[in-house]
């Protein structure tokens, strides 16, 4: 049994009883237990000192109250708190750290250390104590993996399939590395290690499936997309724009079972934003022109600072609307080795990557030019924000967004990637230019 604690939250616990190592009977009431003596191991990691500020406070019956700081409980999962004080038998407490929403929901109930089914896991077992005196903490053992015995659902003990030696974690603790095969069966699992010369050590876990795991560690936010009715067609605004929120229902409708779509609005907006970007990129939907203030003597212009949405310049026109010829900068040297020094009215332009635009010859006078290029839509951050892609591409945007949600949120990668593939009209794994338009 372990205690439940809220992630990144100051948590008060008690540990004990602290018993004298001299007779194994006398309760110790006068110990000073500083934070540095409270050693923490998260999910089988090495022990570190608590970052709390206060010494533990004696209660009675040999028990002491202490706090875990917000930093102590920052990591989700199983936290072992080991307290080894001189003159006292070893004391430890196990804590299951869960998100705040889960802690609020399960407040007060004891928790069981959990393992995810068919997933490797690193445990923290201990302390190992000499059976000669029942006191000495053994921190220098070499424990082979064959010593790790597992009993699932009260069945016969079998040896772990792991071949990795146990990692010494300090304070008499060691970390077995269970394999996916070890955690294949749902239910209770006892992990036991019985060494010659040591007191037996065991710990009980519960193996849960993904849904059970997510219940504790990945609680999903409130469902906002559960449309019982068919999708509502987008409401056209007077100028033909559509708010991003007008596609929410359509995204869920793209899925076979919209009841399963669980996403809050920020996540949905991020996926819609990405979907709009990739659809715009796929079909080169956004091509805009921008002014370019050319300065005499300045050959290059950094584009991200001038036009953040501009992905790549395709055309440049001078002040007289004459088009400049695009040339590779690596070929300018063949026509003019001093092309960076040559001054005059520009007739050509070149790119330095996609982020800088250069003019040849170097402008000899300041003027207002025009550049045209492929743009990307702005990031969607509000549902009321207007989409930039044309209405006729909404279906593609919704498919890609639904695909991204399935990949990210639902882990249905095959179906998600299939939707993305449909939305972009591209077979997966095939370069874009090899696909017929």
């Amino acid at each position: 049994v372990a205690f439940l604690a809220s992630q990144s939250t100051l948590t008060t616990l008690q540990a004990g009883p602290f018993i004298s190592t001299v007779d194994g009977v006398t309760v110790l009431s006068g110990l000073t237990i500083p934070p540095s003596a409270r050693r923490l191991s998260v999910n089988g990691g090495a022990f570190v000192a608590s970052t709390a500020l206060d010494n533990a406070v004696y209660l009675s019956e040999g028990y002491y109250r202490f706090t875990l700081s917000g930093a102590d409980t920052a990591g989700l999962g199983l936290l072992r708190v080991a307290i080894t004080m001189p003159g006292a038998l070893a004391v430890w407490v196990d804590v299951v750290v869960v998100p705040a929403s889960v802690a609020a929901m399960l407040a007060g109930v004891p928790a069981t250390p959990l393992l995810l089914q068919q997933t490797p896991a690193l445990l923290t077992l201990g302390p190992f104590i000499s059976n000669a005196d029942g006191v000495t903490v053994q921190s220098a053992l070499s424990i082979p993996p064959a010593e790790v015995q597992l009993s699932t659902n009260d069945g016969t003990f079998t040896t772990s399939t792991s071949v990795a030696p146990l990692l010494a974690r300090g304070d008499g603790h060691y970390s077995p590395q269970l394999t996916a095969a070890d955690t294949a069966v749902l239910g209770d699992m006892r992990v036991s290690i019985t060494l010659a010369g040591s007191m037996p050590v065991w710990m009980d876990y519960t193996v849960v499936d993904q849904a059970g795991w997510d219940l504790y560690f990945s609680p999903l936010p409130a469902v906002i997309i559960v449309p019982p009715e068919p999708p509502v067609p987008p409401q056209p605004s007077p100028w033909g724009g559509r708010a991003a929120s007008s596609l929410y229902a359509g995204v869920s409708a793209v899925l076979d079972d919209p009841q399963q779509l669980r996403a809050d609005e920020p996540l949905l907006l991020r996926c819609l934003s990405q979907a709009q970007q990739w659809v715009a990129l796929r079909y080169h939907l956004l091509i805009h022109s921008f002014p370019l203030d050319v300065i005499a003597g300045v050959p290059w212009y950094a584009l991200p600072a001038l036009q953040p949405r501009l992905l790549m310049v395709t055309e440049v026109f001078d002040a007289s609307q004459r088009m400049l010829t695009a040339v590779p900068l690596t070929r300018l040297r063949y026509s003019d080795p001093q092309w960076l020094a040559r001054s005059g009215p520009p007739t050509r332009f070149y790119r330095v990557g996609w982020t800088h635009l250069g003019l040849y010859t170097v402008p000899d006078a300041s003027a207002s030019y025009t550049m045209t290029g492929v743009c990307m839509p702005v990031r969607l951050t509000e549902g009321a924000q207007l989409l930039e892609t044309p209405l006729s591409y909404d279906d593609a945007v919704m498919r890609v967004a639904a695909g991204l949600l399935l990949v990210g949120r639902e882990r249905k990668t095959a179906k998600g990637m299939a939707l993305i593939s449909q939305g972009l009209a591209l077979p997966m794994g095939q370069p874009a230019e090899e696909v017929p338009a």
Binding site: A341, V352, H356, M417, L426, P431
Partner: protein
């Protein structure tokens, strides 16, 4: 746009289970991976070398700057009459030759000198080919083979005054047996700096200019070494440049220019970021950009890469299918961007696409 946006998007694809510290630290590496996959982040730079010299006082380990005297009017002493005193010479690029214009020789019985270089940890002996004696007035030269482990660094045993660029390729001269009566004096000092350092995020050089002329790119082994085995020692007005040792961290000009800093190249105007009069190398490069400079759509690609990389890491949340899906998604989007590269009007710089990681995503490596 920010690192935070990248992490938020990456966490979307990791069910919020990514380790924040690891993800945060891995973003620059992902940006570089993306920049190699899609080498379109251009940059224009002005590259130049500077050097400095100072008197080294062994007793207290101090550096007293003499650069103004060495590069302008006035004389300075090469050593003192105290044992182990000498000079410290540092430059931004690696050099292999130092020329002394001596106005007087050292007076004393058989002075002995020691030349060492700083390798990042200690002063080690320099392999000299020509060593100055400082015995008489005139021009004397120090020539040596630049050591492989010579690095730009700050020697930790020196007490530095304010205003000195401490990170440099440093040489140290010490008088093991100092001149008894008076040290040699020097009026001019010059360094033959063979290499120009480049910013560490440069991935590929597109064009290099020794104003007003663009330099030709040249290979080393099958070009320069074949045409002129002694090309590394040539000095004059540069016509070519090389990237040696397959690194983009430095470039070498052929022939090497003999002057650096405020001298050497005619000025030109209008180069953004250059102070006038400018007299340095101008480089056009492809780079791995700073995270803060990424536009949102690039950030999302970085986030996909990051989530795929995190999903492949060993641990409780290992999810090969998720990693594979995200890798496929990145490959598809890279294909779309590559397709855009062939849009009408785009220059077809074939070498820009022949990056080491073009054909596959390096996501299978160990964290």
């Amino acid at each position: 746009m920010s690192m935070e946006d990248i992490l938020v998007t990456a966490q979307d694809y990791l069910l919020q289970m990514g380790e924040a510290i690891t993800l945060d630290a891995s973003v620059p590496e992902m940006v570089e991976t993306l920049a190699r996959l899609i080498p379109v982040f251009g940059q224009v730079g002005v590259v130049y070398n500077i050097w400095q010299v100072g008197q080294y006082i062994a007793a207290d380990g101090t550096y007293a700057d003499l650069t103004a005297l060495a590069q302008g009017p006035g004389d300075f002493s090469v050593t003192t009459t105290t044992v182990l005193d000498g000079l410290l010479i540092g430059a931004s690029g690696a050099y292999d030759q130092v020329t002394f214009g001596l106005t007087s020789g050292a007076l004393g019985t058989a002075p002995q000198y020691e030349w060492t270089y700083w390798n990042g940890r200690a002063w080690l002996p320099l392999r000299l080919t020509i060593q100055p004696t400082f015995a008489a007035p005139g021009v004397e030269m120090l020539a040596f083979l630049p050591p492989d482990d010579w690095v730009p660094d700050v020697p930790t045993d020196i007490v530095w005054p304010a205003g000195v660029e401490q990170t440099a390729f440093w040489l140290r001269l010490r008088a093991l047996v100092p001149p008894e009566l008076s040290p040699a004096t020097c009026s001019t000092l010059s360094l033959t700096i063979r290499f120009f350092p480049l910013p560490t995020n440069v991935l590929q050089l597109l064009s290099v200019h020794f104003f007003p002329r663009e330099l030709e790119p040249a290979g080393v082994r099958w070009a320069q070494d074949t045409l002129d085995p002694a090309w590394r020692t040539r000095t004059g007005v540069p016509t070519r440049y090389t990237q040696e040792l397959e690194t983009t961290q430095r470039l070498r000009l052929h022939p090497s220019p003999t002057m650096q800093g405020a001298m050497g190249l005619p000025p030109f105007q209008g180069i953004p970021g250059a102070s006038a009069p400018t007299n340095h190398l101008v480089t056009l490069t492809l780079e791995a950009p700073n995270v803060a400079d990424l536009a949102p759509w690039w950030e999302d690609l970085v986030a996909y890469l990051l989530a795929a990389w995190e999903a492949t890491r060993e641990g409780l949340r290992q999810d090969a299918a998720q990693a594979q899906a995200l890798q496929t998604l990145v490959a598809l989007l890279v294909g779309l961007l590559k397709d855009l590269h062939h849009a009408p009007g785009e220059e077809l710089v074939s070498t820009a696409w022949q990056m080491p990681y073009w054909m596959h995503l390096p996501l299978g490596r160990e964290p």
